[in-house]
């Protein structure tokens, strides 16, 4: 399959949105674009599954075009299982996000245009095999977020938008230094070629922190997580979904594919630092969530905790833990998107997100409440849903690392699940159950677009939860390559 389609289709959609007239056309074009994207993602999946054998190359469907020849910059794309999982995740969230924001009337053209632009960045990032293109797409994804939050957001939106944009830009500035450092020691931006070269340990040790922290900012690495709560809570629903579901995954993917894969020795050397901060993020995120009263803040802080699992999985450097990290990225993407969608649905009806003011919603809005409960249960790791699969994989993988301090970190991370259960059950109980505020008696339940959006995400969550082997098969070969490189195992 021609991978460039994954960039061209959203781009075409975005451009045609610009030339469309009226809310109806805008919606239809965006939905059509999102459906085509989802179709493409599945087509890619099937082609990969068909053609992938044990002897096939690390990256499939490669295409390379010399872009800036004098600097050895190529437009080079290709996918392995991990990228396909991420592309699928993106496609799911794009379509759900568009459905959820179906009724957006304020500057709708610009809104959907920016959503599409954001997805261009995400797809491009996940298929890039050239560090320059990767960086290019990483930065493309920043500006739409700024505008989405600043224009359509709520609360202290300008502040949040600015904070998010500046912190993410700071992240990419660090990434830039890391990339330049790699380039001037290998003279190529090609990820596959760099992976074959022996990069000296001193170089790795110098530039790994730049790349890892840079990408880490995107994925709420402690202590650079502060943009997460503000950004998520101020953003409009679809933007929150994109932010948590796609954008934070850019960081996780970058940490794995660029930092860990290209600088494996440094990854081992700094593994304890990563573990330390990931554990802090997990525990701090969980306890901070306990204190929140706003549903969006609850989900945002719990995202910090959950993304901590991704970094923990990467830092533990065992085959299973890295698998778990990727699983957790996919699972967390779907789950938070669902959570934010549910919160958005509640908020658009009750005009409040404060737990204390809500109550008894199950009686009037059974569908939305059920979605909310499913998202919550997935978040606390109920077996049968994706959250359980991902977290248990991370924990098992982490336990395989025999070092006693690493084991301690694992134990602490496991313990955070209890805290998660507390805040999820409490929030769910107070919002869904309990006495109902009489003002809410006339609320209407979800409309078709909201049902469809939630349904799509729930299908994803359940499939991963019930049949994790499917996705394990998909990402297995990719994570094998990375971990073998880290542990120095020759194929």
């Amino acid at each position: 399959m021609n991978l460039s389609l994954l960039i061209i289709i959203p781009l075409l959609t975005a451009v045609s949105i610009l030339f469309s007239r009226g809310l109806k056309q805008v919606r239809n074009i965006s939905l059509a674009g999102a459906v085509v994207q989802l179709g493409l993602a599945f087509f890619l999946l099937f082609q990969y599954m068909q053609q992938h054998t044990a002897s096939s190359p690390e990256m499939m469907f490669q295409y390379s075009y010399s872009w800036f020849k004098p600097l050895n910059i190529n437009y080079h794309v290709g996918v392995d299982g991990i990228s396909i999982a991420m592309i699928l995740l993106t496609a799911f969230i794009v379509i759900a996000g568009i459905l959820v924001s179906w009724t957006t009337e304020k500057l709708s053209k610009e809104f959907f245009f920016l959503l599409m632009l954001l997805s261009v960045g995400a797809y491009g990032f996940f298929i890039s095999l050239d560090l320059f293109t990767l960086f290019f797409f990483l930065e493309i994804a920043v500006i739409p977020k700024f505008l989405l939050i600043g224009i359509w957001g709520s609360g202290k939106k300008e502040y949040s938008a600015m904070k998010l944009a500046l912190m993410l830009m700071g992240g990419s500035a660090l990434v830039f230094v890391g990339l330049a450092g790699i380039y001037f020691n290998t003279h190529t931006f090609n990820i596959l070629q760099i992976a074959q070269m022996p990069v000296p340990l001193t170089v790795q040790k110098l530039f790994f922190p730049f790349a890892f922290i840079g990408f880490g900012v995107f994925t709420a690495l402690f202590p650079f997580h502060t943009w997460v709560p503000d950004g998520h809570s101020s953003a409009p629903t679809a933007a929150s979904m994109f932010l948590a579901g796609i954008s934070m995954k850019l960081g996780g993917y970058g940490c794995l594919r660029v930092a860990t894969y290209l600088m494996p020795d440094a990854a081992q050397a700094y593994s304890w630092v990563i573990i330390l901060f990931a554990t802090i993020a997990i525990i701090y995120g969980a306890f901070a969530t306990l204190m929140q009263t706003d549903l969006k803040y609850i989900n945002a802080y719990s995202s910090i905790s959950h993304c901590g699992f991704v970094l923990l999985g990467i830092g533990m450097l065992t085959k299973t833990s890295i698998n778990g990290a990727v699983l957790q990225m996919v699972s967390h993407g779907l789950m938070t998107a669902l959570f934010f969608a549910a919160i958005g649905m509640i908020y658009s009806r009750t005009h409040t997100r404060l737990v204390a003011e809500l109550g008894g919603l199950l009686k009037v809005t059974p569908f939305i409440s059920t979605v909310f409960v499913i998202a919550g249960l997935c978040s606390l790791g109920l077996p049968g849903l994706s959250g359980f699969v991902a977290e248990i994989t991370v924990f098992m993988g982490s336990w395989q690392n025999p070092d006693k301090w690493y084991r301690l970190a694992t134990v602490l991370a496991c313990a955070s699940i209890v805290v998660t259960a507390v805040y999820i059950l409490r929030a769910t109980g107070r919002t869904i159950m309990g006495p109902m505020n009489s003002a809410y008696e006339t609320l209407t339940d979800a409309k078709w677009n909201e049902k469809l959006a939630a349904g799509i995400l729930i299908i994803g969550i359940v499939i991963i939860g019930v049949a994790p082997f499917l996705i394990n098969q998909l990402i297995g070969p990719g994570t094998d390559v990375i971990i073998n490189k880290v542990l120095g195992v020759v194929k």
């Binding site: 004098p70 500006i143 300008e158 500035a173 230094v177 001037f184």
Partner: protein, 469 residues
């Protein structure tokens, strides 16, 4: 053959011909401003296309004048810039009494710049520099009714005089220590002795004045604010671009033996410039002052690229200036339209600009993103290559500080975007109708901002031409 010079100096000749045509038109019957501007724009367009014909290399007048493909390209970039500025300033010039004089002044400046770019001798260089400065001061005074405009002109002429004197002092010491003024011969006699370093510092200071590198930037904001928008954009794009082109070639060829010395100086100056430009830009409310400080920061980034002292360094500077022409002129174009229609020049007036002027808002936003270096605009590629060329030296502390400074610059560009899109305003700037000429110019700029990055051929070509340097 004696006619060689006609081909080699064709771009200079073209400009001089245009100047004379304007002079004769002025002496002839009275014309409306509109017809003058149409004639000028057509002439400038022809000039731009003619510039690309017969690119030849050669040396004239005992190495006083030399030209090669890179120089021709640089001059073409400047030609493009003056065309865009001319198109943009139609709404301002429409009611002005002295249209042909304005163009004559600007074009004489351009002639000076062209000679400066092509100079093969320090004296020739100095001559070109002076020719490019003095008419510009007169042009800065062209808002005849405004006192601030005269003030700007005075400041420009004084600061230029100071920088020229520094340059002359430097040149004389170079002559004293090397015994020659010819570019090709100077390097043989440079041996890092302290007097030569001192002379180089004087020369550097002279250059630094022209491209407003901190701490020689103090005149910039005042002059930019007072001068008419057309002159401000000329100053910030064309005049700076020309000096930067010369600066690169002089550093990379003439002062190559002093490379270590100037690397250290550039290291300090560029960081200082970026930081000063950034910090002051945050506080500005006047749009022109804001663009002045942001252009100071941009020059700081350009110095980072220059400090890489490689082929990529030279190429990235020329490439960045090309992009800078498009993005800065797009921003100035919007500012100029707004300022001539409403007289409003402060950033807080732009609050809720999007509600009344969506097209202009997007143009301004894209231009600002390009200045900030955000993809997919060309500014991203420009900045990336500059920093990238700078990191070729392996000084990653330097690059990290520069890269992190991009966050600050990002902040103040986003501040304007925020004002345009997000802030509330009871009395936003009313709907502005865009006349044809500025519209063409703005669309050309935006096309450039979006396309130049993706069309890698442009960078490849510039890189190829920079081999000599």
């Amino acid at each position: 053959m004696w006619t060689d010079f006609l081909i080699l100096m064709k771009q200079e000749m073209m400009l001089i011909v245009i100047i004379f045509i304007l002079l004769f038109l002025k002496l002839g019957k009275d014309r409306s401003n509109g017809s003058y501007m149409n004639i000028v724009n057509i002439l400038l367009l022809t000039n731009l296309f003619a510039g690309f014909l017969w690119p030849t290399e050669g040396v004239l007048f005992n190495e006083m004048f030399r030209t090669n493909k890179l120089m021709i390209l640089e001059k073409n970039i400047l030609n493009l810039g003056i065309l865009i500025i001319s198109l943009q300033s139609t709404s301002w010039l429409e009611t002005h009494k002295h249209v042909p004089e304005f163009y004559i002044l600007l074009l004489s400046t351009m002639v000076g710049m062209f000679f400066m770019i092509s100079a093969g001798n320090l004296l020739m260089f100095y001559l070109g520099l002076e020719l490019s400065t003095i008419p510009l001061a007169a042009a800065a005074n062209f808002d005849l009714a405004k006192r601030r405009s005269s003030e700007a002109a005075m400041k420009l002429i004084f600061s230029s005089a100071l920088s020229s004197s520094l340059l002359l002092f430097g040149i004389s010491i170079i002559y004293g220590t090397t015994g020659t003024l010819t570019f090709s011969q100077i390097p043989q006699y440079l041996n890092n002795n302290p007097l030569q370093i001192f002379a180089f510092i004087l020369l550097l200071a002279g250059f630094a004045f022209k491209i407003s590198v901190a701490p020689f930037h103090l005149w910039t904001a005042d002059v930019y604010e007072g001068a008419p928008v057309a002159v401000t954009s000329f100053l910030s794009v064309i005049s700076k671009g020309a000096v930067l082109f010369v600066f690169v070639s002089v550093l990379y060829t003439v002062f190559k033996p002093l490379a270590q010395a100037w690397y250290n100086m550039l290291f300090l100056l560029s960081l200082l410039t970026i930081i000063v430009g950034n910090l002051f830009a945050i506080r500005q409310d006047n749009f022109k002052r804001f663009l002045a400080f942001s252009s100071i920061a941009q020059v700081g980034f350009i110095l980072v690229g220059i400090s890489g002292s490689s082929q990529a360094g030279a190429a990235s500077v020329v490439y960045f200036v090309l992009i800078y022409v498009f993005s800065n002129l797009a921003a100035f174009g919007v500012v100029s339209l707004v300022s001539s229609a409403t007289g409003k020049e402060s950033i807080s007036d732009y609050k809720a600009f999007y509600r009344t002027n969506p097209v202009l808002s997007w143009i301004l936003t894209i231009a600002l993103f390009s200045l900030a270096g955000v993809p997919p605009t060309a500014g991203f590629f420009g900045k990336f290559f500059l920093l990238f060329a700078g990191s070729g030296k392996g000084n990653f502390l330097f690059i990290s500080i520069a890269a992190l400074n991009m966050i600050i610059s990002f902040y103040y560009y986003l501040r304007i975007v925020k004002a345009i899109f997000m802030d509330e305003n009871l009395k936003p700037i009313e709907k502005i109708s865009i006349p044809l000429m500025p519209k063409l110019a703005l669309y050309a700029c935006i096309t450039g901002v979006i396309a130049v990055g993706f069309i890698s051929y442009i960078y490849d070509y510039i890189h190829l031409l920079s081999t000599g340097i």
